[in-house]
């Protein structure tokens, strides 16, 4: 059965007709050509499909596209300033114009600096998950390893626990943990998911059902 939905993806409104069985992941990859979220296990166990929806990190493989009508979705590709239509989407670094680093988000910059990419298949999910996790951290949300009622410190144990939903078969966790901690300290923008002033330019794309 078909449904018409509108989803803002990386700052661009996209209209499409989907079968009710379509996941957000398949809608992004197969219908909209947004291939940065990866299909790993397709059962919510690996985190490679992680995107931000409504500024929260979620698994697009366990999300029905019909349930995302009207949602604001950000993928790893949309985190960089200037990624979409020359104007950054929510989640973009936002401080200053795209520069020598191509306007990379601080988390993306840190992944490059720390050699946290390895084969790269899980990387977009890791990057989006890190952006979401740093936002949760900035809100003071605890994790299972947070001691006591106070504000958690972003030590290696905290990062590992908060990133545990993203599995890397290259075993590159050491550099990923370092990258996430660097991003947290590098720039307050790394923690801002939705605070970019001024909205992105609207582009309405019709996709045939």
């Amino acid at each position: 059965m078909q449904r018409d939905i509108t989803v803002r993806v990386d700052g661009v409104a996209r209209r499409l007709t989907v079968d009710t069985r379509t996941t957000l992941l398949d809608a992004l990859r197969e219908r909209l050509g947004v291939t940065s979220p990866k299909k790993g296990c397709d059962h919510g166990q690996c985190g490679a499909c992680t995107v931000l929806s409504g500024a929260r990190r979620v698994l697009s493989c366990l999300t029905l596209a019909v349930s995302q009508d009207g949602a604001e979705v950000v993928t790893a590709a949309g985190l960089a300033a200037g990624a979409a239509a020359g104007d950054g989407p929510p989640g973009a670094a936002g401080d200053g114009p795209p520069g020598a680093d191509g306007g990379l988000h601080p988390v993306q910059r840190a992944f490059v600096d720390c050699d946290a990419l390895q084969c790269g298949f899980c990387t977009p999910g890791q990057v989006v998950s890190a952006v979401g996790a740093l936002d949760e951290f900035a809100r003071g949300w605890p994790s299972a390893v947070t001691e006591g009622p106070g504000t958690p410190r972003l030590d290696r144990a905290e990062v590992a626990e908060r990133m545990s939903g993203n599995l890397c078969r290259c075993g590159a966790y050491a550099n990923i943990v370092t990258a996430v901690r660097q991003a947290a300290g590098a720039s307050p923008a790394a923690r801002a998911v939705t605070s970019r002033p001024g909205g992105p330019r609207e582009t309405d794309t019709e996709v045939a059902g």
């Binding site: 059965m1 449904r3 079968d19 009710t20 069985r21 996941t23 397709d42 059962h43 919510g44 985190g47 992680t50 929260r56 990190r57 979620v58 698994l59 493989c61 366990l62 999300t63 029905l64 019909v66 349930s67 009508d69 998950s129 979401g132 996790a133 949760e136 809100r139 003071g140 949300w141 605890p142 994790s143 299972a144 947070t146 009622p149 590992a160 626990e161 908060r162 990133m163 545990s164 939903g165 993203n166």
Partner: protein, 337 residues
């Protein structure tokens, strides 16, 4: 996946009418379990009724109940509830249980109403090529005599040895939570400890809810004892795995004597297991290692491990005994007065 229709109802009453009126209809909360089951072919509904925007989801708007209790809307996410300052202060066992479950992404999706209704992760239940009495009543149980590491040692039957996977539910059971339910005939309240069924001869029914009944909120009654409470989970890896065994406990100790206790177990039964016999043994006993072991023995006297291809799951009994003792030791140490 079989085709299905999808509805976004305007409110909870409309959602209930849509599901109650169609035997092939299901509610969709966070979807973390249902969408997986759609893909696996474990369920094949003809109508999916989405609950986003229908149930109270704002954690800031948790209603205060008399004396420090909380009413939690069923649409609140696991992560928002775990982070709520009131929950962390008044019911730390609940916050810890929520944070020990799944991953950050899944906790953002999962809802308070959906979490208790997630289904067993028994590998045979999820594998539609194998017989399973929970999935297909009367087809047999593949787990009995199979791989039993993750299966029950308490309350199982000859028809099913699956365990309930939720961590949150174990804490809710220990806290005497109450489930508010909206059905075609109106509202009712179910004690959390009575929500889940033991398998008996009908393992296909996980709970006492009827088709079309919707969890709208969970009430946490005031419980001063819960300020000194903890959740301890033992699993095969450090994070993001289901419990082999888990313990939710709250303890009130005065002058070295246990005045009162709340204890529930996870990972060992078809339902979150409220350990009333252990609580009874603890009340009035000295806060000592011996008391903790005696309490575990009182509860586990009726435990029956499953044999299996992997050597069975008898290891869960001493593991649970030690986990209970460690949890209570921690609470007594923190809170001795």
């Amino acid at each position: 996946m079989k085709p299905f229709d999808y509805l976004s109802p305007v409110d909870a009453a409309a959602a209930v009418r849509s599901v109650a009126g169609n035997p092939g209809a299901v509610f969709l909360g966070g979807g973390t379990n249902l969408v997986d089951h759609l893909k696996l072919g474990v369920v094949a509904p003809e109508l999916v009724v989405g609950l986003a925007g229908v149930l109270p989801a704002e954690v800031e708007e948790l209603d205060e109940l008399d004396g420090g209790g909380l009413r939690i809307g069923a649409g609140v996410s696991n992560s928002e509830l775990a982070a709520d300052r009131r929950v962390r202060e008044r019911f730390p066992v609940l916050s810890q249980a929520l944070l020990s479950g799944a991953s950050g992404q899944l906790r953002n999706m999962a809802t308070v109403g959906g979490n208790p209704l997630q289904r067993t992760r028994c590998a045979y239940f999820q594998d539609v090529t194998t017989p399973c009495n929970k999935r297909e009543p009367g087809s047999g149980c593949s787990a009995i005599g199979g791989w039993t590491r993750h299966h029950a040692v308490l309350g199982a039957s000859e028809h099913c040895i699956a365990v309930h996977p939720s961590d949150m539910a174990v804490a809710m059971a220990a806290l005497d939570a109450r489930v508010r339910v909206l059905g075609p005939a109106g509202e009712r309240t179910v004690p959390f400890v009575g929500l889940h069924r033991l398998p008996g001869g009908a393992p296909e029914r996980d709970t006492v809810l009827e088709h079309g009944e919707l969890i709208t909120a969970i009430d946490l009654p005031a419980a001063p004892i819960a300020r000194r409470s903890a959740y301890r989970k033992v699993r095969d890896r450090a994070s993001y795995a289901f419990a082999l065994v888990s313990v939710a406990a709250a303890l009130d100790v005065e002058d070295g004597v246990i005045v009162d206790a709340r204890v529930a177990f996870g990972g060992v039964a078809h339902a979150p297991w409220r350990a009333y016999r252990a609580e009874e043994a603890l009340r009035g006993a000295p806060a000592s290692e011996r008391s903790y072991r005696d309490a575990a023995d009182a509860e586990l006297a009726g435990a029956r491990p499953a044999e299996g291809l992997d050597g069975g799951n008898a290891f869960k009994i001493p593991l649970l005994r030690r986990t209970l003792a460690a949890t209570l030791r921690g609470l007594a140490g923190e809170g001795s007065r």
